[in-house]
Amino acid sequence: MNNIEWPYPLEWDSEERIDTDVLVLGGGIAGCMAAIAAARKGQQVVLIEKGATKRSGAGGSGCDHWESAATNPCSKVTPEEITLAMLDDNQGYNNGISHYIECKEGYDRLLDIEKMGGKIRDTKNEFAGAQFRDEDTKLMFAYDYENKFTLRIWGSTFKPAMYDELRRLGVKIYDRVMVTSLLMEGGKQGGRCIGATGMHTRTGKFFIFRGKASIMCMSRPARIWLFSADLPGLCEFRPTQCIGDGHAMGWRAGAEFTMMEKSVGAEFSASGRSYPPYGAGNNHNTWYGTSLIDSEGKEIPYADRDGNLLNNVSDRFKPSKGQKFFMKGGSIDYPKYEIEGPETLSFAKMIEAGYKLPFYADLSKLPELERKVIWGMMIGEEGKTKVPIYKNYKDAGFDPEKHVIQCYGTGWTSADFLPQERQLFGLPGGFMNDWTLGTNLKGLYVAGDSLFASNCYGHAATTGYYAGRHGAEYAAANTLTEIDATQVEQEKNRIYAPIRNEPHNSIGWKELNAAISKTMQNYCGEIKRDELLNIGLLRLKEYEKKVIPNTFAYNPHELTRLLEVFDILEVSQLIVHSCLARKSSAKPLCFYRGDEKEQDQEKENKFITIKQKSQKIEIGGKPLDYFGNLKENYENHNKDYIRRCKDEQ
């Protein structure tokens, strides 16, 4: 390969400066919606995306369900009810503000996306008469058919529709540009955010963006514990290049984070250990309601939360007796009794009762429309399913009326993992936010997976739009600021240093990522101890001081991957520092210590916050209910929006 010349012009030495009102960092779901909101407020908007905005991000290829759209006309629950249930389910360790926004504005955004060209209802009447379809609105619901707050959507149409809307609104899109750092007023950590630097992933060109407000819309961190040098694209659930650059540059800039001590045992992908998401036998999420059978064709019964067996398929979609509603979907792993939905009997019980392994997912006996909506609509519209699952399985002869698909793990994990194989999943940590989705850094707003306790598509779209709105208000009241030349110079030196080294005695991005992941598995695994965490930190520091100066990249693409690993190293340190800051175990954070002192537990029942100021780490705390009264605070901060929605009605 090495004798093929790089096909793109090399522009290592050139620099482009761009000024705008609102700068959107990341072009996934949240970024697109942020840019749309800001542009609609009359601001000039620049959107920077590492991939190709039309299909970039975790939701680029699609999404099959939109959770918690509590204000849709069929919903029987309120935004307050769902948000409080989400908070309670995690003993308060959840983002009350962002999830309230998700519940409150989800349906507004769906209508918005429909206007842009996305499909949110069964316009072709393919599912007329189905139990999950509302005949008046043609909206289709998933999970709890009685309370109707999670919608089935044709999400493969969404990103291209948003992309068209961005262009219609005149948003300037910079695809294939990796944002490398936040620019701060006077170059000071913890100061005001006044822009960002970037590098073109094909040409290596340097960019200096100035914005009056910036909106951080990048992914959650990944590849911290999980890495395969051979198949890096299969390491994690989110896209290969979505590894948490935003968290890293935020940490360097002095942004405040919380819940970064939380990690969960790996559930997805995990360096190729599991099978393709939504592609193996299971009965969760996209496949919810599917029958499971054992290897002799015997059906595994569903039961309600009280253990009553459910005899009809339709009962799988109803709350239990005396239950208002149940929750299913993205990150409701071990629900509390209050919101626990129907489920197949436990794996252990089935083995005890003599059911034979392996189990299989069986669509064949479902009512026709239930089968058709799972195989053909959900599988097809959910991310990464249209081609790799739906088309490929069909082409290979899979027939949902005849065949059953094997299950591999003991649940929807579709594999079993080691305890030290961890992931930031199921409401992971992120930037701390206030009621404007602003951060502690003036001028910096945050949305989607950058937020702490983020989860799904609807959360990304709604918080994106909300942050875009509030960022635009800030931009309208502020001016552009002169950048600090020293900060820019330092950043250029940092990002281009690896191309000046020689390949024969240097270290590449894969070798470094593998070392970081192994270090994190060893010293920051399932059970935390100060002595190990401290050694882990030393190892990571060593990589920073001794290895980074000896890295090499052949071309701008490899340099992008290498800069990502520098960010992974940065975030790993943030995680270890956050683990050191929490002294006692906290079950809702999946955080377990082997060296805790019992008296710490009560004292630590709060969000522990962490940030850097003048290169020193500052630990703080916020009460779990810091967001106050949801409804009142939302209304106080969104008077214009509420008024405009009323006018439109």
Binding site: S61, G233, I293, E296, G297, Y360, G383, Y393, H403
Partner: protein, 99 residues
């Protein structure tokens, strides 16, 4: 088979996620431009299928196939270890009866 009594430097990758069907691909490079991971580079020869430069980085989202204007020009293939098994349900029941 290679009959010319020579062999060449090379290493087969751990996965071969994208297969171009040369007779169908028109070399329009839409797949190159849509891929968020940026696996591909355009073929130096115009009109020919792109080169899959970084196959290991593939995320298997299928957007290259979704964007392709020619049906069947690209096949996305999961690595062998990730190919899922299915069986005919009737066979499971028959197996049980035979036991």
């Amino acid at each position: 088979m290679n009959n010319d009594k020579k062999c060449y430097l090379g290493e087969m990758p751990s996965a071969n996620p994208i297969i171009y069907h040369k007779e169908k691909c028109i070399g329009c490079n839409r797949c190159v431009n849509i891929c968020q991971v940026d696996l591909f580079i355009p073929n130096p020869e115009k009109g020919k299928p792109p080169i899959v430069l970084y196959p290991g980085e593939c995320w298997y989202c299928g957007c290259c196939v979704m964007e392709c204007p020619i049906e069947g020009a690209i096949t996305l293939r999961h690595p062998l270890m990730n190919q899922v098994h299915w069986v005919e349900k009737d066979k499971l029941i028959k197996n049980k009866e035979e036991k």
